[in-house]
Symmetry: C2
Subunit: 345 residues, 2 copies
């Protein structure tokens, strides 16, 4: 495995000259450069990124901290990040987070420029103190689907999204509208779902509807949870005529439960989700579309920008980039049928 020294020897020049050629320094005579390039070629030399990193104090690596298993939508976001980084010279190191402990571990070890030059944190509410530590360490950081004081972030207005979904159901004439989302006290501290619930409650209040406690349910973003909650909901004396699930994955569970209970969607029960993941199109789920891929892509770009900026300017201008939400009406929502539905006043 040839080193820079071998190249230098072979080309009959000094170490420094090879390095200069490598890094495109203009202070090299054309003829010398050619000779060095030639030697590099014949020797099949390739710079050692580790050594380069050690010397430079950076490692050409971007760390992505992502709750990979927890959200189906994370994958789509990750795709965006990958696409954004693809043209850059940065490698992408994946840090999966399955538990809060996990997060602490990773964030702790990543507060160092030597594991990753920049950090992309997805969907994980990061304690202000952690953020502070990261900021101090000088590692540029971008949050995607999360917010933090003084940190550049790509966000979605989940309250607005929750409003959109609920308003759609209200507009269709529904009264007994159930909500299913993450537990506000979930161990990760995910807040998106809670925000959506806020939107739900706000719209209901505006419509003069009472928020029935038996219609508000919580659980992780899993299909099984949706199926379970759906079954409970449909077994109620006064069942809902519509369900707003704060994720498409949960929504599919609700739909499965409806089928199981012999209910037709949307005739007997309307279902709306959130995210617009790939499967939603397949099954015709009405939902609130989040630009998942774009969020990752934009996050990646922002991080690359921060990395490209001269160190002193870094982090001085944190920006929050809101992404547009869009109501996608497909075939799982419709006006309530008179035969069924709430009899509440």
């Amino acid at each position: 495995m040839p080193t820079i020294a071998d190249v230098a020897a072979s080309a009959g020049v000094g170490l420094g000259t090879v390095s200069r050629v490598l890094n495109g320094s203009p202070k090299v005579r054309a003829e010398t450069r050619a000779r060095v390039l030639d030697a590099i070629d014949t020797l099949g030399y390739r710079p050692n990124p580790l050594a380069r990193g050690l010397s430079l104090g950076r490692c050409q690596t971007v760390g992505v901290v992502v709750p990979f298993f927890t959200h189906a939508s994370a994958v789509e976001r990750l795709r965006g990040v990958v696409a954004a980084l693809d043209q850059s010279r940065y490698d992408l190191v994946l840090f999966n987070v399955e538990s809060p402990v996990h997060r602490e571990e990773h964030l702790g070890s990543l507060t160092r420029r030597d594991r990753a030059d920049g950090l992309l944190i997805m969907s994980l509410p990061t304690p202000a103190e952690e953020l502070e530590r990261l900021a101090v360490s000088g590692v540029p950081i971008v949050l995607v689907d999360a917010e933090g004081v003084g940190v550049t972030a790509v966000v979605t207005d989940d309250v607005a999204g929750g409003r959109m979904a609920t308003q759609h159901l209200v507009d269709l004439g529904h009264h007994a509208i159930a909500f299913l989302g993450d537990d506000p006290a979930n161990s990760f501290g995910f807040t998106s779902s809670t925000q959506r619930e806020l939107g739900y409650r706000a719209v209901l209040a505006e419509a003069g509807e009472e928020v029935r406690r038996d219609l508000v349910r919580h659980g992780p973003h899993e299909r099984e949870v949706g199926a379970q909650v759906g079954a409970e909901l449909f077994a109620l004396d006064d069942p809902p005529t519509a369900v707003f699930a704060s994720s498409d994955v949960q929504a599919t569970g609700i739909i499965a439960a409806a089928a199981h209970a012999g209910l037709r969607v949307p005739e007997d029960i309307s279902v709306i989700g959130f995210d617009d993941v790939e499967i939603s199109g397949y099954i015709g789920l009405t939902t609130v579309r989040q630009p998942l891929f774009d969020s990752g892509f934009l996050g990646g770009q922002l991080l690359l920008d921060a990395l490209a900026a001269p160190a002193p300017g870094r982090g001085d201008h944190p920006q929050v980039h809101p992404l547009e939400l869009e109501l996608v009406i497909r075939t799982t929502t419709a006006p309530p049928t008179s035969g069924r539905g709430s009899t509440r006043g």
Copy 2:
């Protein structure tokens, strides 16, 4: 940012001793160790992986080369890898491959121990010559969903899978069975689909059925492709009564086309897919299940094993680990209805 020297100074010991403590060498007096550990703690010292890697000649990193965007199934496999690596001390670097050029690039630069200590290549048929280069470079390598001479691999018997699917349709009484899969001349050189097609042809031959050229179609693993091909198939004078799509994603397209053509599944047309990705369960698709997650997990473990093995033994015993396929019968296949179907003898 404290270095090992700071720790040494603070603990009043030499550099080497700190290093020994760090690496769990037994040749350190308990009292000394305690003092060092103490210093490490108060200083908040953390070893620099880059420096460590440079010195050691490795970087505690596993490279995963994966056609991320090309196959939905790749994500599931990736999940498995992440899970396998999670407990190890290796970081996972993701190399996306969107085009053959991409592949060359990555593989070229990864033939070096300094970017990744080990390599996991997914679903990408790697030219024997590349494999040779990698083998020579001493980087342990594991193939998942691909095969190569002399390389440890996790594989599925796609011919057998193709047989399973086709036999299921034949057993149901179908005669005009269409096939949709990757173009055998696809630019990546993916072969799984072609293997499945082999199984399809074999079963048809055994059943005494002619393989109708108009019923064998090719295209990328995209839903749109399935929809397009489905439309063409259903417009035939003598349309098929069943379709075997070599991926679930294509199968969903076929189903969409059926709905569009006013055909009921499975009454008018049976559809079987391949993979059993998450959505397949949701939509009740009959399919051949591949243990995607497991394949990634096993691949990760095998790579970790290889990495743990003493260098000389590496690669001496490449093994091929076949994974079990399973026919999952759900609701998209049924016997052909008499009213429709082929009239061929």
